[in-house]
Amino acid sequence: MKKQTNLLLALLISVTFVGCDDLLDLQPQASISDGIALSTPGNIQTALVGAYAQLGGADTYGGSYIYLSEIYSAPSSEINFNGTFIDPFDINRKNIVTTNAYVTRVWTASYNLINRANNLLDPATLAVFGADAATKNRVEAEAKFLRGVAYFNLVQAFGKAFNDGSPTTNLAVPLVLVPTRVVDNTLQLPRATVSAIYTQVVTDLTAGKSLPVSNGFYANTNVASAFLARVHLAMGNYPAAAAEANNVITSTRYSLFSNIASNFNRTSNGSETIFAMQVTPTSGSNDMAVFHSPLPYGRADIRVEDPHLTNYEAGDARANLFIITPRGRMTTKYHSPDAAVDSRRLNITVMRLAEMYLTRAEANFRTTATLGATPLDDVNLIRARVGLAPLATVTLADILKERRNELIFEGVLRMDMRRNQIGSDIAGAPLAWNADALTFPVPDRECNVNPNLKQNPGYGVGKCAP
């Protein structure tokens, strides 16, 4: 009898352990799966917010897009990256290795944003809105706007300037317009040409113009126009640049602050703000403050040297936008004068009205047009605000000087220097405006995993295609 009992026990135990497979069916708690992420209109809207979050990241408009433009182009006599972070130090010295992490992250972060946008633009995603065409159209236009902005920054970083040689053969970056859902060889795309990327940028931003006039702190039709104005200027399409800038100015939604300093270190958009990255105490990144603000909020690495001040006329209010710190002179565009305010938790202005006046002035001047106003009036408007006497006549050099002084540290210096064919210097020697060293290398990691990428000249070949 006992033997049978034992056998029964053994049997019982083995039965107990059959069918344990369901013990292995567990689901994540802080993520959702691909299948449901874009399955409802509500989810898609949060995915759109997610795309903006990437635009505001430290490697996009939360930092890199802006400060790398400045430290990578300015002459060493004016802007000196004096910190011990070697990657931006090398960028400032125009002495970039192909493994430079900051360069790499501009690439990967931009495509991360593009993939977020492409997920929204997938026909299957947009179909979820069904009959709600208004929401569908808005989401589509915003996603295209975001994608256009990302490609604009990529083409500038990794491609030659539009006015440098032949944009239809110069290589920029791969053009990806569909979301990534599986890993396979189709991800190994070659670099599209500079002109192909610009075409996509214009197409996407133009789609953004269909956005409503008002859309909170998100992109609206004017934001799209403002970016188009910048893009057309980079391409040398002056009439289009003037027209888009004029669109923004004449929308009358924006007005210049009486004090230029009001543009910076804000916690919300102001009257002159066209587009700003929103940073709250608990969300968003502000790497601008990290590099421009002194301890304790930042590292105060981007030091403004004395010769820079000679650019300003006497009485120019913009010459006061500096502070002397233990680590040298810093711009106050990303450093709150109130020591109790954590500058890293302030918004970053990406696009403001003054740029539109200066773009219109330059584009009109170059085409001898007067769309909206004369170049002289536009320039004098900007001058008057910073306490400078009006000019009687205006030259292109006047406009460019005004633009440089107005927008320095705001992310357009590199684009302006390249399109105006202004060089820089390297290791104490002059560097031509179109020198190889003034375009980022294709990141080493990309060449390692994509045999179809060619490296930019001047960086060797490495693992890139010959």
Partner: protein
Amino acid sequence: MKNFLRTLLVGAFCILSSQAMAQGLTLSGTVTDKSTGEPLPAVNIFVPSLNRGAVTDLNGRYAVLLPAGSYELRVTSVGYKRFNTNVVVQGGNLTFNIQLEADVIGLDQVVVVGFGETARRNVTGSISSVSGSDIQFNPVNTVENAIQGRVSGVFIQQNNGKLGQGIQVRVRGSSSVSASNQPLYIVDGIPVLMDDFSLSVAASNPLAQFNFNDVESIQILKDASAAAIYGSRAANGVVLITTKNGRPGKTQFNYSFQRGNSEPTGLVDMMNGPQYVNFMWDAARNTDRIRAAAGLNPNRTAILEGEFDFYSLGTDWRACLDASKTSILTGTAGGGTACEADTDWQSLAFQDAAMFSHDLSASGGNDATRFYVSGHFSDQDGILIRDRFQRAAVRLKLDHKASDRLRVGMNLSGGRTFNQRLASDNAFSTPLQLIAQMPISPLYYPGEAQIPANLNNDTYYYNGIIHKNFSKYNVTTMRNTGTGYLALDLIKDVELRSELTADVMTGYDDQWYGPETAVGFASAGAGGYASVAWQQSVSYGNSTYLNIKRNIGKDQSFNGTAGFSYQYNDYNYAFTARSGFPNNSFQRLTSGANLLSGTSTGSEYSFVSYFARANYSYKERYLASVSGRTDGSSRFGKDQRYGFFPAASVGWIVTEEAFATPILPIVSFLKARLSYGITGNAGIGNFGHLGLWGGTSYGGQSGIAPSQIPNPNLTWETTTQSDIGFDFGLLNNRITGEMDYYVKNTEDLLLTVQIPGSSGFTSTLKNVGNLENKGFELVLNTFNLTGAFKWNSTFNFSKNTNKITNLDGQILTGGLGFNRALEGQPLGVFFGKEFAGVDPANGNALFNIYDTPIKGGSITGTTTNFNLATDRVLGNPNPDFIGGFGNSFAYKGFDLNILFQFVQGIDANISGHGRWSRGNGVFEDNSVTDQLKSWTLANPNTNVPEARYLVTNGNQFSSRYIVDASYVRLKNVTLSYQVPRKYLNNTGLTKVRLYGTGVNLLTFTDYPGWDPEMNTDFAAGNIGLGNDFYTAPQAKTITFGIDIGF
């Protein structure tokens, strides 16, 4: 859960079916040591035919109740040869005294294997053992430290000298590139949690809660046949830790106390004030000379002087500028004397480090019930300022024989550690980053009282001393581990055993930063910053299995194990941060004005496993073992989640053969072993196979974004290992040893594969690639002198060669960005440009151009353009060979143990004191004195390029910063004196032992940093090896202790 209930019910039923004990005659006697005549406690006396036994008490006495008859008696004790005999009990009680012979070769030592134990004689796999007595009261932080250098095939490297922090343990090399390389730790049958609760980028050590003074033995299962019973998680080896069991007899107490002090094993020779000022000033002049020649503003010396003026806080730094130099800013000549402020910042990083520990244990019981209880408390200061580690631990083990057939027991342990942690090596506030400060910066504001409130906050880098005084980073970790077991003899020779296990780890991370600190000042709203994090990882499970032991006829014996196990883990995390505290007396979140963060998350995983093993021996000389395990893991998709891991091994004890008799005087023992098997690795994060979207936010609104690209095909990484080994004893076992050669091939690597960033992702987890570890291990034990003066030596040597054989073209980087996983190379090689030295003509740093990339070929030229130099493999952070050499001497009551540990042929990347403090003056960081040898016209033949302030001249990562980090270390010296028993009569004491121990007393190395045993904590990983970034040295510790038994 349902299943547990059923199991419990089964268990309950089993208890009811127990039966009463039989009556009979008493067999009793005393067991003594044959050579010393001392009585031996805790000897097992076993009567196999009745499955009944007894254990000797403290006086070596035993008693077994037997019915009349003839019995085989098996007598076993750790460290003694087994003794088998037959006794006949008839007509009355029988006294039978037994003498046991010491077992120098350890053949009959019990070796714990997965789900069972066996005699070392019968082992056919490769297992390293450490006895608990070898590591007891070792004044080191954790159990891994304690076994360093004591076992072959195991490379143990602590990240740094901070207490309670990460440690790397590699059994026979790294077998994975992206998945875990950590061995599986089993404590008393429980796979213990190895969660890293650290909130900083630096890992903490989850085994730090474990009181290793409880250890009876540690077995490291190295080959596939030994480890395969743990199938899925055994590819990296298995560390089986067995704690002490209760010993029946009079309750024996043991109390031990020790105290001691630690200091760093080494320092780096940093420049003093005058050296620094003149070096930097010259560097700035050099830059200006070059700028002027290029037509640029030569203002760098002015910039430097301006900084010096600022950071010296008004103290006269020009006093120490050479008299031959004229200040650019003031036009005055240097003083040529001492600097007014000259701070030795390095010395401020260290503190006087004291430690003490108390251990109390009791063990006892009777034939039916045995117990072991222990308590431990230790308090250890780290060598770095504010570093501290306290541990309190208790353990209770109970084993009860409910009947002849049924045994129940439990094993409970609780531990609490309190760690005053430090910031990671990458933080300005970590103590050793103080070396980068300018020596001319005073510690306090000049003219102010030297109190914390007046600490200099205008230093070049954030002043870590402020951090020390105005912040806290306290981590309390609680660990409760429990097992309840029930063992039932189902039928003769068949035991059913079921264990319920739970392991609960709870961490409380309490941080506060006053407004004086950078973190506290910079947080939103004035008044500092504080955060708390609470984490809990709960693992519970059940293992139920049958053990079968059967002798077939006279010559054959068989034993087998088959069963099931389930393990489930649930992890939860909560974090809250506030800022704005009224003053520094308020450090709890309740007083903070602004809520900055409040978050929680969690995850879970489970494993379901079925396993079986069979061992067979014929004539005790032909041995064979087969095992298999099927594992299912929640970490893989539905179609890929099960893996099968088989292994087989054979052994042949040659010296048991008749033909071996003639060689016995020389070769007293020889066993050949051969094993082959497959083990697996699922040491990846949870849900790696799913496509996922995670939460994010923008402008205060919530969003989602893709976070992971799916891979439904993700499955087990498998390692196939072959091992051939010999165990031998020579010259009547005066020399014994083991020799092993193995080949481990890992395939379907769980690899974090880089994918084109243009996809929007940078990596995905994929089964791709192969790697190989091959190695040789040798262990020798010699008994040089065996008389009254005893001298034993042990030597172990391990050579492992790691090679990545296939990565599918992937190039993976790690560490500080310069370690790589490269096909054809060992994991983690340093990769970059080769430094060609200095151009004697102008002091420029030169780099080599080769005709072949990576390796081989020849140099075709040099270049100053870093990008044009050829990328090469620059060094290997894996050692060529490692080992240990120990000697122990005993005379009367004195014992002297000396252990040397060596690690040879290992390369390191000096980064903090390399690229920054050996960057020939490019930055304001203080430099190492060897930079004074930088190029000048008068000193053109040097390896240090011309010093140029703010100009990159060779401080890029290159072979310039790859150095040899081999070392030989006097790891442990213990001198003890045990008071002879005769002096203890009538004192009530059974043992008094006094001892002194030294750890890391001497280190022989050419390494130019603090300590060659390092791997910077924030960048340590499978690929990230051998990087020194302000990495704290190990502690050199001397303690004195007393150990009393009563």
